[in-house]
Each structure stands twice: as structure tokens, then as C-alpha cells.
Amino acid sequence: MNNIPVKKRLFICLAISLVLIIAGAFLLGFLGFNPDRDTKDRVSLQVTDNGYMAIDPDFRDSLRSFCETKISAGGFSVTDVAYASESSGGSGSLEFVLDGASEEKLASFVGELDAALSSAQYGEGTENAGTYKELSGVSVTYHTSGYVLHTEVIWRAAVAAGVAAVLLLAYVAIRFKVGMGVTSLVAAVHDVLLTLGVIALVRIPVGMSLVCVAVFALLLSVFLNLKVFGKMRKDLLLEDRKELSAEQAVALSVKESRKGIFVADILVASAVVILAIAGLFVGFDMFSFMLGALVAILVANYSALVLSPAIYTLIKEKSDANRAKRAKYNYASEKAKKKNAKSEDKVPAAETGEAQS
């Protein structure tokens, strides 16, 4: 990548990013993000009882497996089962989240399952034998529910991220260089958008926590970009670097800061990858959340090591050229000044010569 001229490199980077962001935005417009378990519009079948499930976990397990078998036999696919216990009264509820079930079919199936629970026996041969209905008064119903977007959380997070990005620009412009500040701002916005675009594009299931992933992308982008610019700020003051062209000087600093970036990456990415793998066993939502975070890490790396240096090289080339132009101008004026000074020197010399003679 370093062999490609900087303008071409920047063009390629921006083209790739723009294509991904626009494709993600289109997909988002048409299909939205791929919702996770919590944010999906759901059709569920709920089996509630009078509290026997809370007292006897074996009964609960048996009821769950009986219902699951019947639901599968009824032609429905169960994507998730959640148990909830009523805090005030003690009754329990098993909620079977179904995939692609039509309401009409489900409405008729509710009666079938109810009838099956009234006839199926639990604990045959034991003291507490009886049908599920007799033992716990189970009642079957179905629900459809739609997820409502947390608009307040989203727009306030967006405003906060915007304010943070502007403060970043101001701080980096003051403490580093204006060009670095502008580059950091562009990189931060790019990273957040690209992370969201890629997540939409590869259909990673996401929920409300996606806002946290976007904020994570922003903070990570600031950290990694500052790591590169911190090195650059120090290097650009070195005498031997002053001789180099903007492209060479930036490329050298980026090369030297790679190790530090990779160390930081390994620290964060190792935790994210292990938690993602653990999520496969613990809960799929954790897996998808960590996958989103991993996308943010990859994007922030790409921007810190490829995109930001390319942007900054162009800015630096322009500013160096301007400085050279100013220096050239000053050189001419300095020449004129020197001439004036020389001619002024000659006058007192002539005067002193006259005086001596």
C-alpha cells in the first residue's frame, strides 16, 4: 500500500469506505439493522401457571420440553425460550419465541396446546401425578409485540458524539497541529459511520447496545489516531525528518508507531474475541455484541494506519508548500532588506572617511 502514491491511496481508501457506508446505509434504509433477540418484533407463545413452575424446577423442565415438542410438531420453530417468575404473586411463565409464525395458525394452535396440556400426564406413578392443567392450572396464550426504537437515547448519543468530536478537533488542533485535528475529526466520523455500515452490511444482529459499539468506535479511533499523531508530532521536530518529504516523513512515523498500535489492539481485541467465543456458549447476544466491537477495532486500525496518514500527508504537503512559498517571499524581502542595510552602512563609512581626511 505504501508504494501507491498518496493521492491514489487516499482515493482508494475513501472509495472503499464510501462504498461500504453507502451500501450499509441503503441496506439500513430498506431492511434496517438485523435485530437481535431483544429488539426483534416477536411472535411468542406464553404458557403461564399458578406458581407450580417456581416451586418444582423438574415440573418446569418437563412442561418446557413437552411444549417444545408440541410446538415443533405443530410446524413452528422455537428460536428462544425465556422463563419469568411473577415477583409479587409467584406465578411463572414460559415464553416460547417463534420464528415466522402466522397469527391465524398460532391462534388455532393455542387451543390445541391447551387441550394437550389438559390431557398429558406429569409424574406418573408418583404421589403428585396429574395432568399439567390439573397440577398447575396452566394457561396458554400468544402475543405479538413490536420493538420501539429508543429515539431519545439515539439522538442524544449522536449529539454527545458530535460534541466530543468537535472538542477533539479543538484540542488536537491546539496541542498537535491543525491538520492533525482535522484528520482526527474526519477519522472519528469515518470510523463510526463505517462501523455502523459494516454491521448493517454483514447483518450482525444488534440491539440497543449498538449505540455503545458506535461510541466505542469513536473512542478507539481517538486513541489510535492520537497514538500515530503523538509519534508524528515528536518525529517531525527531528532534524533528519525535516529533510524528508511530507509523504516520507509521515510514512516513517506510521511505520514506527505500528508496534504500539498493534500492542493496544491485541489488548482490546483479545478480550473482545474471547468474549465473543464465550458468547457462543453463554448467550448469542454477547457474541453478536462482541462481533460489532471487533468490527469497530478493525475499522479504527484501518483508519489510524491507512486513512488518517493519507489524509494528513495531503494536508502536510499543502501546508509545507505554503510555507515554502512564504519562505521564498521572505527570502526576496530579506534580500532587499540586506541591500538597504548595506547601502545604509556605506553612508556612515563615507561620512567617517570624509571626517578622517
Binding site: Q46, A84, S85, E86, S87, S88, S93, E103, A107, S139, T141, H143, T144, S145, G146, Y147, V148, H150, T151, E152, V153, R156, A157, V159, A160, A161, V163, A164, L167, L168, V172, R175, G207, M208, S209, V211, C212, V215, F216, L218, L219, L220, V222, F223, L226, G260, V263, A264, L267, V268, S270, A271, V272, A278, G279, V282, F284, D285, F289, A293
Partner: protein, 505 residues
């Protein structure tokens, strides 16, 4: 620093760290019945994704669940069985009064199978749904969900709001109940919401600016209702009327009581003995911070006339739910982070030798301070967003320490003495470390102050962690390196450096 002094400091530091480590991560064990030891990590307040929470379903008047319908039906059947022939049963037949609609039963007053749900009910429900949703949004919970269930019920999910089950349940019940309050705010001397009083002031935007919470010291938290200019004058007028009526009629005790109602619910009642010319009124009543915040949100939501709920909701039943990230998500996260920290510390010691040892002390101080903050600061609730913030801040701290160590190594390679190298290495990394922490602190603060919900909490956790990281990187690790380097005879070998010896010619 002398060897003895350094040894004493190392021992003291180690003892303190070991003690705090024990307090922070030891699993819970019984101490003396009925008490048990709970570590700091076990009292960290976790969000709905890591620790589960509660959900409720709000049923508006005229809408009942299938379970309730079946109870009414069983009751009717029982009464019918015991009613003599020719006589009318004492209870209504639910089959006549309710009709099934999806998973619900709707009253025939609002629904018929031919014409569907009445337009009036639809409009009222939409209004109520909008307001209830806004209440949950305004409450600023770290994680919550509001769903429209079966078109005419509202399902709300919230995280646990306290550590103990009983406190958490009572706070959840309080929140679910208060967020279902309907009607507007009224200041009156009437003994009930439906009775008429001698004085009355409506709590609309004309009179009320808003409500907030305030720490009331020993009596917990209070809700402050702030008046507008017109509200202040009106409040002065009604309290003046009440004070004069109570002084003229000493036999009437109710005449001097000013009640604040929200719909049918009494929020507070206070006796008035004199005219009160004040810009705000405090509602106290043993509120905790959470319950006071809930009350303030409900009051704020009823100030705008368009936001008053006309429907009444049934007192909701609430259910506890498992963590959305999985039942063992919190334990898994803690275990993974613990193992990775251990691996990172071992790597640091292997790579940087003595400096790695200083890093171990610095990082442990940081980690324990983070655990102490997230467990002892009551407003902090850790969600997966918070976990990411902690991971990132930890990586920044490690990264800054490694940067300083590499600078020391480079300085030493230029031929400086070890002490001069340490000083110069830290000096070279100071500007970058301060800049990095400062900008991230500013970004974290912006997120905390502007955002809400999970992002606000993530911002708070990140801000705290970055502040601790700056402190531990710039002071603790350096101090530890200083005291550790006083110990060995061969300091250069201790930090893993090599210096080529040049023979004298």
C-alpha cells in the same frame, strides 16, 4: 531512596494491595450466621443485559389478559352452578362482556368483532402509549425496552435498580406503578381526588416549571416542584386562603391540608398554617434516589396538557427476567477479563522485568480502584457498554506504561545512566500521556453530560477509568518503579537492560 525505606514501602504497598484484592474479588462466603462476606465485585450493580431485570404488561381499562378472563369465567361458572333456576347470577358472564382479540380479551364497550376497536379508545391508547414511552425514556435507565404488545397493551422491561432482591423488587414495583399514573396534577384541599375543594390549582405548564430531585439529608430524597411566576402567585393565593380558613375555623382540620394529586393518586398532603410565598415546593416521604427520580419523571410528564393520560391502567403485575446476554454473562465477563489481566501482567514482567513489576503494582492499583469505584458509587450500573469502556481504558493504561518503558530503554541506549534514563524516558512520554488522557477525559465527560441511558453510563465509567489510568500511569507506576529500583544491587540487570562494557586501553 534507601534500601530499608524502599523495602518497608514495598511491603506496605503489597499488604495493602493484597488486602484490597481480597476484599475485591474473593467469592462470597458465610462469616457468622446469618451474615456472609461479599466482595466488592459481587456488589457491582449490573444492567439488564448482565443481571436481568423485570418486566410488566400494562392493561388499560377494558382490556384483560387471558388468565384474568379464565378466572372471571371460572367464577361465573361457579356462581351459575349455585344459582337457582330462573334467577340471574350475581356476576356478569365474561363471554358477553369480553371478546377475544389476539392474546387479549377486549371489553365489548370498546370492541366488537364487526366494527373493531372504537376510534375513541384507539386515540386514548395511542396518547397513553406515547406518554408511558416518554416516561421510560426520561427516567434515563441504563437499559430498558418498551414494546407494544397485542396492539393494546404495553410491555415494559427495566433493569434491577438495587442490589438486594427485596429492594430491587420494591423499586421495580414502585416504578411500574407510578409510570402507569393517569390524569393531571392538582393542588387542592379536597380529601379525595374526586371531591371538590375550596382551593384548587392545576399543575399545568402555566403554573409549574418542572420537577427535580434533591438530597434531603436524613429524610432521604425529596422531589422539588418548581413554580413559574404565575404558579408562585397562585400558590401564595391558595395557601393564604387555606391559612385564613384554618385560623377562622379551628374545628376543621381538613381545611388546612393541601393535597397534591395526580389523577386519583395522592402524592402528598401537608398542613398549611400560613401563606407561603415560595418558588418551589418540596415533596418528602422517605424517597430513595431512585423512587424520587421516578416521581419527578411522572410529574414532569403530566405538566404539558397534551401529555395527560386519560386511560387508567390496571395495577401491573411484574415478572423477573434473566439477563439478555445469557444467565452466566457477568461471571464469564469477569473471568475472561481476570485471565487476560493475569496474562498481560505475566507478559509485562517477562518483557520488561523490573519495570514490568512496577507496572504490575500500578495496574493492580488501577484495577482495584476501578472495582472500588464501580461497586461503591451507587449511580454506576455496568452494562456491556461499560465493560467495553473498562477494557478500552485498561488498554490505554497498559499502552501508556509500555510507551514510557520503551522510552526509558531508548534513553538508556543513548548512554545515559539508568536513573537519568528513567527520568528522561518519563519526561519524553509525559506530553503524549497527558494529551491522550485529557482528550479522552473530555470525550468521556461530553458523553456523560449530554447522552442518556447506556451511553451516559458508558461515558461515566470511561471518564472514571481514564482519570484513574492517568493517575496510575503518571504517579503510581513511576513511584513503584522508583521504590523497586532501590532494591537490587545490579539495577541495570533488574530492569532487563544490557550495557556493553568498554575496556580501558
Amino acid at each position: 531512596m534507601g534500601k530499608k525505606k524502599s523495602a518497608v514501602l514495598i511491603i506496605l504497598f503489597t499488604i495493602v494491595l493484597a488486602g484490597v484484592l481480597f476484599l475485591s474479588i474473593t467469592p462470597t462466603f458465610p462469616v457468622k450466621s446469618p451474615y456472609s462476606f461479599r466482595s466488592l465485585l459481587s456488589i457491582v450493580d449490573l444492567g439488564k443485559d448482565l443481571d436481568g431485570g423485570y418486566y410488566t404488561v400494562y392493561y388499560p381499562e377494558g382490556v384483560i389478559s387471558k388468565a384474568e378472563y379464565e378466572t372471571l369465567k371460572a367464577e361465573y361458572d361457579y356462581v351459575l352452578e349455585n344459582t337457582e333456576e330462573g334467577q340471574t347470577p350475581s356476576v356478569d358472564n365474561p363471554e358477553e362482556n369480553y371478546k377475544p382479540y389476539k392474546g387479549l380479551y377486549l371489553s365489548t364497550d370498546i370492541y366488537s368483532e364487526e366494527t373493531g376497536v372504537t376510534a375513541e379508545f384507539k386515540e386514548e391508547f395511542e396518547q397513553a402509549y406515547r406518554v408511558v414511552k416518554a416516561r421510560y425514556e426520561a427516567r434515563g435507565l441504563t437499559d430498558y425496552a418498551v414494546r407494544l404488545q397485542d396492539d393494546y397493551t404495553i410491555r415494559a422491561e427495566i433493569p434491577r435498580l438495587a442490589l438486594s432482591d427485596s429492594d430491587s423488587e420494591s423499586l421495580a414495583q414502585d416504578l411500574f406503578t407510578k409510570f402507569a399514573y393517569s390524569g393531571g396534577l392538582v393542588f387542592t384541599d379536597a380529601s379525595s381526588a374526586t371531591a371538590s375543594g375550596t382551593v384548587e390549582m392545576e399543575g399545568t405548564s402555566e403554573y409549574i416549571k418542572g420537577a427535580s430531585t434533591v438530597d434531603a439529608g436524613d429524610s432521604g430524597y425529596a422531589v422539588v416542584i418548581k413554580f413559574t411566576k404565575a404558579g408562585r402567585a397562585k400558590f401564595k393565593e391558595i395557601t393564604g386562603t387555606l391559612a385564613s380558613s384554618s385560623s377562622s375555623d379551628s374545628s376543621s382540620s381538613s381545611g388546612a391540608t393541601l393535597n397534591i394529586y395526580m389523577g386519583d393518586e395522592l402524592l402528598m398532603g401537608a398542613s398549611v398554617s400560613e401563606e407561603m410565598d415560595q418558588g418551589s415546593v418540596y415533596i418528602t416521604g422517605n424517597y430513595t434516589r431512585e423512587s424520587a427520580e421516578t416521581m419527578a419523571v411522572v410529574i414532569n410528564s403530566a405538566i404539558a396538557e397534551n401529555d395527560i393520560i386519560d386511560l387508567t391502567f390496571q395495577s401491573p403485575e411484574y415478572y423477573s427476567v434473566d439477563p439478555s446476554m445469557g444467565e452466566y454473562a457477568a461471571v464469564t465477563v469477569a473471568a475472561v477479563i481476570g485471565v487476560l489481566v493475569l496474562a498481560m501482567l505475566i507478559f509485562s514482567i517477562v518483557k520488561f522485568k523490573g519495570m514490568g513489576l512496577a507496572h504490575l503494582y500500578g495496574f493492580l492499583t488501577y484495577a482495584l480502584a476501578v472495582i472500588a469505584c464501580i461497586s461503591l458509587i451507587s449511580v454506576i450500573q455496568i452494562t456491556m457498554g461499560g465493560v467495553l469502556a473498562i477494557l478500552l481504558a485498561s488498554a490505554i493504561m497498559v499502552s501508556c506504561n509500555y510507551y514510557a518503558f520503551n522510552n526509558i530503554k531508548k534513553e538508556f541506549a543513548t548512554g545515559k545512566t539508568l536513573t537519568a534514563s528513567v527520568k528522561s524516558g518519563y519526561k519524553k512520554s509525559l506530553a503524549f500521556t497527558i494529551d491522550l488522557h485529557a482528550i479522552l477525559l473530555i470525550a468521556g465527560l461530553a458523553l456523560y453530560l449530554i447522552a442518556t441511558g447506556p451511553v451516559k453510563m458508558m461515558g461515566l465509567v470511561f471518564t472514571l477509568c481514564i482519570a484513574l489510568s492517568a493517575f496510575c500511569t503518571l504517579l503510581v507506576t513511576r513511584f513503584c518503579l522508583y521504590i523497586w529500583m532501590a532494591q537490587p544491587r545490579n539495577k541495570i540487570a533488574f530492569v532487563g537492560f544490557k550495557r556493553e562494557e568498554t575496556e580501558d586501553e
